[in-house]
């Protein structure tokens, strides 16, 4: 029986049956509840400060807040207070959520060590900065301030999940120590110190339980080598300095690489991917068969190549080169984009001469108001074996003769026999 330690108190109080007499009599029924119930109440006050403020109610409440398994510091908190709070707090922390606005590395470094000692569950740290917001909106991230301090990340020995969105503060990953229980790691808007061995820190030797790794908007990592037997999902997005990627992950099921090499100085993707169990590959990035090695992936079910520009100048080589790697694939996700202004730009779809044999085709179309019937027909002709088609049309229309209304997003899921449906569809267009 869980939480039964209050049973005695309950039966003792149960002699009274009629309601509302106790309030009038001045009985304090809240303070009479067992500690674990009051902790449930305090947890729902959301912020660590609100919970700690109850200390002044009476002696009964003096140290209750310190038993909380979860502490939240919303962005209004002064980051310096977080360290004080963590020092005064007593219980193991299952969840620590810290949000700051444009905090400096020094203020973060003040509480992180205390958090590390206490943490036995998840840590979510979000430092909102103008630079991070700009990056999210698609602007090029700013250069790091010269001479600004780096945060020395400690080894979160007991944490199970860590999410750090540090707003382009400089970070040094620990060079030693084992993240024994860590299963999820998410790093965003991070400027890694140049000597930082991120790959080593997340590989099996030091991160034996890691199952999910996400790195978004990271600078400073040129060579990333991940060797993990536990990793199931990995997503690398906008790792600006990446020049070389090595992935040796026998258990990996999902791999996503988005616009990492595009931004690199060399604009040449060098990668070696060994993931025998891979099921889903999403590669929205430069791709070159001579420099990107994909090992055997017998279980691969779904491939999502880079976007394909229907009209434009940059050749769609990354998309086409990846498509050429596969003869048959169960599910293919293609994204076709019409730029708003396509005047004077060459029609590129003729470059797509063949597609792998596909059972299920997911077609994302950003038409920007342009008629896309021909393009659709072209693709469907190449995928004559398709049994299931999902069509997602999105985009703002800039021209009058638009085929779908402004901002419309249409979804169709249909099972069709190709030949007939091609005709059906043609009639609609």
């Amino acid at each position: 029986m869980e939480r039964s330690d209050g049973g005695g108190e309950i039966s003792a109080m149960r002699s009274r049956i009629s309601s509302d007499s106790s309030t009038a009599a001045g009985e304090d029924r809240l303070s009479a509840l067992p500690d674990d119930i009051l902790v449930l109440v305090l947890m729902r006050l959301h912020t660590a400060a609100a919970a700690a403020q109850t200390s002044v109610l009476s002696r009964r409440w003096r140290r209750l807040w310190a038993l909380l398994p979860e502490l939240r510091f919303p962005s209004s908190s002064d980051p310096r207070h977080i360290a004080s709070a963590l020092l005064a707090h007593q219980a193991p922390l299952a969840f620590l959520d810290v949000a700051t606005e444009d905090a400096a590395a020094e203020s973060v470094a003040a509480w992180v060590p205390a958090a590390t000692r206490r943490l036995s569950g998840s840590l979510v740290f979000t430092n909102r900065t103008p630079a991070a917001n700009a990056a999210d909106e698609g602007d090029a991230p700013c250069e790091r301030k010269r001479g600004a301090a780096f945060i020395d990340l400690p080894c979160f020995g007991n944490a199970t999940a860590v999410s750090l969105d540090v707003g382009y503060l400089g970070v040094v990953a620990p060079l030693a120590g084992v993240f024994a229980r860590l299963t999820k790691l998410r790093l965003a808007h991070v400027h890694f110190h140049s000597s930082c061995a991120l790959g080593d820190a997340v590989s099996s030797r030091r991160c034996p339980s890691l199952e999910k790794l996400t790195v978004r908007y990271a600078m400073g990592v040129t060579d990333l080598a991940v060797r993990s037997s536990s990793l199931r999902r990995m997503k690398l997005e906008n790792m600006d300095s990446l020049e070389k990627l090595t992935v040796v992950t026998p258990a990996l099921k999902h791999l996503t690489v988005l616009t990492c090499f595009y931004r690199g100085r060399r604009r040449r993707p060098v990668a070696d991917i060994e993931a025998r169990q891979l099921k889903v590959l999403r590669w929205g990035d430069l791709f070159d068969r001579s420099s990107v090695k994909l090992g055997k992936m017998k279980h691969l079910q779904s491939v999502c190549p880079d976007v394909f520009l229907v009209y434009g100048y940059p050749p769609n080589d990354p998309c086409l080169a990846l498509l050429r790697c596969f003869k048959i694939i169960h599910e293919l996700c293609l994204t076709l984009v019409y730029l708003p202004d396509i005047n004077d730009r060459p029609y590129l779809l003729e470059d797509m001469k063949m597609l792998p044999g596909v059972t299920s085709l997911h077609l994302g179309l950003t038409s920007n108001g342009h008629a896309f019937g021909t393009c659709l027909f072209h693709i469907l002709k190449l995928c004559s074996g398709t049994r299931k088609l999902a069509l997602e049309i999105s985009g703002k229309s800039l021209e009058e003769q638009t085929t779908c209304p402004a901002d419309c997003i249409c979804d169709e899921h249909q099972n069709w026999k190709t030949e007939e449906l091609l005709l059906n569809h043609l009639q609609e267009v």
Binding site: M1, E2, R3, S4, G6, G7, E9, I10, S11, M13, R14, I17, S19, D20, S21, S22, T23, E27, D28, R29, L30, S31, L33, I37, L40, V41, M43, R44, L45, H46, A48, A49, A50, A52, Q53, T54, S55, V56, L57, S58, R59, W61, R62, E70, S77, D78, R80, H81, I82, S84, A85, A88, A94, F95, S122, V124, A161, S163, K184, R186
Partner: protein, 186 residues
């Protein structure tokens, strides 16, 4: 589903007493009988689930000496309402994602359910939920109590809950200094 309040009907039902009944009968400290869906009881209360699994459910009314009839009626009412409600997507998703609160917000009907309770009935229900190991009902009732505390000064909270301030002035000052970080942010 209506609640039987210890009248003859419940006794009649019990006389049928097949092993595969889909309800269980619970008896409050003051001897009143309530029927509750066996499935909902087992799903919502770890204690009742244990009793059902262990065969210690009494067809003549399982004695719950610690729970008064009013609180038990609310417990049973909650179970039956829960059995009939369609859980929202938020309730179904069990995995804790990074950026959401690890506990689940009460549903609209659950809010209404606790909002109509008197001060004492609320605490009776918290105690009953605690005794019966009803995690979800504890969530909902504790959420309600926290709502009653939010945005209030210590004095206001003491007044709402009849909490007696047993600190000396010096002690209070000491705590405020020690927990300056908590008071500073306001």
């Amino acid at each position: 589903m209506e609640v039987d309040k210890g009248k003859g009907e419940a006794e009649e039902t019990r006389k049928v007493a097949e092993a595969d009944r889909d309800t269980v009968t619970l008896k409050s400290s003051d001897g009143k009988l309530f029927e509750v869906s066996k499935e909902a009881a087992a799903r919502l209360s770890t204690v009742l689930a244990g009793m059902i699994a262990g065969g210690s459910i009494d067809d003549n009314g399982t004695d719950l000496k610690q729970i008064g009839s009013e609180a038990l009626e609310n417990v049973v009412d909650y179970c039956n309402k829960h059995a009939n409600s369609i859980p929202s997507a938020a309730l179904i998703s069990s995995s804790i994602s990074f950026n959401t609160a690890p506990f689940k917000e009460p549903e609209e009907w659950e809010r209404k359910f606790v909002d109509r309770l008197s001060h004492d009935a609320l605490f009776d229900l918290v105690e009953a939920a605690n005794f019966l190991g009803m995690e979800r009902l504890l969530d909902v009732t504790c959420h309600k109590i926290s709502e009653m505390m939010k945005g209030k000064s210590p004095d206001q909270i003491r007044e709402v809950f009849n909490i007696k301030n047993d600190y000396t002035k010096e002690e209070l000052e000491e705590i405020r200094q020690e927990l300056a970080w908590a008071f500073y942010d306001d």
